[in-house]
């Protein structure tokens, strides 16, 4: 059972308090965009996800906690959370993810 850092509570909480909520950073098209979108583009938005191997940006919901949705980077190879960040913040860059990895390693070394 994971221990997940909730960026709103700013502490680690047990996985059972959370629910997975799908891949992150898929922005819903505006009404205007929706009307202009082809059926193909709309179906791509609706149904197609990357399901990547490695650093996966995904959403989690702290439903049995502060009730907030947030974003996370989880490595689908090691099945480890690299970082979490608040909803609305931009997709994390490679550099930011690398820094988080480094920071995690340092924290671990300290304990």
């Amino acid at each position: 059972m994971f221990e997940i850092h909730c960026p709103y509570c700013n502490e680690k909480r047990s996985e059972i308090e959370f629910a997975y909520a799908g891949e992150a950073h898929y922005v819903r098209p505006t009404a205007q965009e929706q009307t202009e979108m082809s059926d193909e583009d709309w179906s791509r938005y609706m149904f197609i996800r990357d399901n990547i191997r490695g650093e996966h940006a995904e959403r989690w919901w702290h439903n049995s906690g502060c009730n907030m949705f947030f974003n996370a980077i989880r490595d689908t190879v090691t099945d480890k959370f690299v970082m979490t960040y608040k909803m609305g913040q931009p997709r994390r860059t490679e550099t930011q993810i690398e820094a988080a990895r480094k920071n995690n390693a340092e924290q671990k070394a300290k304990s």
Binding site: Y8, S64, G65, N67, M68
Partner: protein, 181 residues
């Protein structure tokens, strides 16, 4: 039959090292406020709304706990209800916010005694050691499959609430733990 929380508390819930009591009637409100208004609302309402998430304040009659970044719960003695209804209606009018009465949504238990944390940890994954969960800390979390609100009111005392229909489940769970220990 009038006010009915549908939970009976057995005698075994009153041991030297562990007491579980059912809280009597309370007035409860869920407050959703914009952060820029909190100070003004505190002033307007007189409520001691904690600033930090997972924080709580307690006076003789009123507990205020911050459960989410913009969410507070107010749990008050029923004698405060008329006044609070009025105050909060005013706040509702003056500020962009959501105030919803949830007095009967929850039932509450007080769990106290040297074994109190142990009992809660039977089903709750939080670390309840005093330094990780100090007096005043308030969280929404889980007791097995029931969502609970947990506030530490003292070193050996907790205020625990759940939605009404989960109350008997928690009572039965506590009864099993206490009777088989």
């Amino acid at each position: 039959m009038s006010f009915d929380q549908a939970i009976d508390i057995p005698e075994i819930f009153d041991a030297d090292d562990l007491r579980v009591t059912l809280l009597k009637e309370k007035a409860r409100y869920s407050l959703r406020l914009k952060s820029q208004d909190v100070t003004a609302i505190k002033k307007a309402s007189g409520l001691k709304l904690p600033a930090k998430i997972m924080g709580s304040t307690r006076t003789k009659d009123i507990i205020c706990a911050k459960l989410g970044p913009d969410e507070w719960i107010v749990i008050a003695d029923p004698t405060q209800k008329v006044k609070l209804d009025k105050t909060l209606a005013k706040v509702s009018k003056e500020f962009t916010c959501s105030i919803t009465e949830i007095s009967h949504r929850n039932v509450g238990f007080e769990i106290s005694g040297s074994e109190a944390a142990q009992l809660i940890n039977v089903g709750c994954p939080m670390d309840l050691s005093l330094d990780k969960f100090p007096v005043g800390k308030a969280v929404r979390t889980l007791f097995e499959s029931a969502s609970i609100l947990l506030i530490r009111t003292d070193e050996h005392s907790f205020h625990l609430e759940c939605w009404r229909s989960f109350g008997p489940y928690l009572r039965d769970f506590f009864a099993r733990v206490i009777s088989t220990r």
